[in-house]
C-alpha cells in the first residue's frame, strides 16, 4: 500500500476537501439535505480513507484515541446540555424558544447546537468503531 504514490497524492489532495464538505453538509442542513448525522459520517469516512491509504497508526496520530473517545461523550453532553439549558432558562426540556429573546432565533440557535452535538458524536463513534475493528485485526495478525 505504501508504494502507491498516486493514491497517496490523490488522498492528500482529497481528504481536506472531504472534511470541508462534511462541514458544509453540517451547516447547510438548514437549507438543503444534510445535517449533523450525515456530516459526521462523511467526516469519519474522510479519516477512514486516510487510514486506508496511510495506515492505521498515521490516522491514529491524526485523530488520537482519547480525543475520539472524548468526542463521543461530548456530543451527547452538548445535545443533552442544550436541553437542560432550556429548563434553566425557564422553559421545558429541549425548549429552544427560550434560548434567545426572539423565539425564532432561539429555535435556530437550538437547532444549530443540537446538530453540532450530533455531528461530533457520530464522527467520534464511527471512527472509534473503525479503530476498534481495524486494531483488533492487527493485533491478531501479530500473534
Amino acid at each position: 500500500m505504501k508504494r502507491q504514490m498516486v493514491l497517496r497524492v490523490v488522498g492528500k489532495l482529497f481528504i481536506p476537501y472531504m472534511l470541508l464538505f462534511a462541514l458544509y453538509v453540517q451547516f447547510h442542513g438548514d437549507f438543503g439535505p444534510g445535517g449533523g448525522f450525515q456530516a459526521g459520517v462523511i467526516a469519519a469516512a474522510a479519516i477512514i480513507f486516510y487510514a486506508l491509504i496511510f495506515g492505521l497508526p498515521a490516522a491514529r496520530r491524526l485523530a488520537p484515541d482519547p480525543i475520539v473517545e472524548a468526542m463521543v461523550a461530548l456530543g451527547v453532553l452538548l445535545f443533552a446540555g442544550v436541553g437542560v439549558a432550556g429548563i434553566v432558562l425557564g422553559g421545558n426540556y429541549l425548549d429552544y424558544f427560550v434560548l434567545d429573546g426572539d423565539p425564532v432565533a432561539g429555535q435556530h440557535r437550538g437547532i444549530f447546537w443540537v446538530e453540532a452535538g450530533v455531528g461530533i458524536t457520530v464522527t467520534g463513534v464511527m471512527l472509534k468503531i473503525f479503530y476498534m475493528f481495524a486494531g483488533r485485526g492487527r493485533s491478531l495478525d501479530e500473534r
Binding site: F31, G32, P33, F37, I129, M132, F133, R136, L140
Partner: protein, 121 residues
C-alpha cells in the same frame, strides 16, 4: 382499489420477507446480520413510499412549489437507519468475539462446541 396502487407495498413485503428468511434460515452469524439489515431496510420503504406525492417535491420550503412529500416519515427513518447501523456494529463486535472464543461463526458448530464442553465438564 387497483393492484398498481399497492405495488410499492408488495415490493416492500418481498424484501422484508427475504431479509427475515436469511435471519432465520441461515446459520452463519455474519450472514444473519446482513439479513437483519435487509429486513430493517425494507421497513424504510414501508414508511417512505406512501409519503410520496406524484408531482410533489422534496420537503424543503421554497417559492414556486406547493406540493411537498411528507417529511415526518423521513425523520423517523433517519432515526431508524442510525439505529440499524448501531445494531449492526454491535452485532459484528459480538460476532468477532464469538469467533475468537469459539473459532467459528457457524451457529451449528458453536452449539456443538458448547454441548461438548458441557458433556466434558
Amino acid at each position: 382499489m387497483s393492484a398498481f396502487g399497492h405495488y410499492s407495498y408488495w415490493i416492500t413485503v418481498l424484501l422484508m420477507v427475504a431479509g427475515l428468511y436469511i435471519v432465520i434460515a441461515r446459520g452463519n452469524l455474519i450472514k444473519k446480520l446482513v439479513g437483519l439489515s435487509i429486513f430493517q431496510t425494507s421497513v424504510y420503504l414501508l414508511y417512505i413510499a406512501p409519503g410520496k406525492l406524484i408531482g410533489g417535491t422534496a420537503p424543503i420550503i421554497a417559492d414556486g412549489f406547493r406540493l411537498y412529500t411528507n417529511p415526518l416519515p423521513h425523520v423517523l427513518i433517519l432515526t431508524a437507519i442510525v439505529v440499524g447501523v448501531a445494531t449492526l456494529a454491535l452485532g459484528l463486535a459480538i460476532a468477532v468475539r464469538i469467533r475468537e472464543a469459539y473459532g467459528s461463526i457457524e451457529e451449528d458448530e458453536i452449539l456443538a462446541a458448547d454441548r461438548d464442553s458441557e458433556g466434558g465438564a
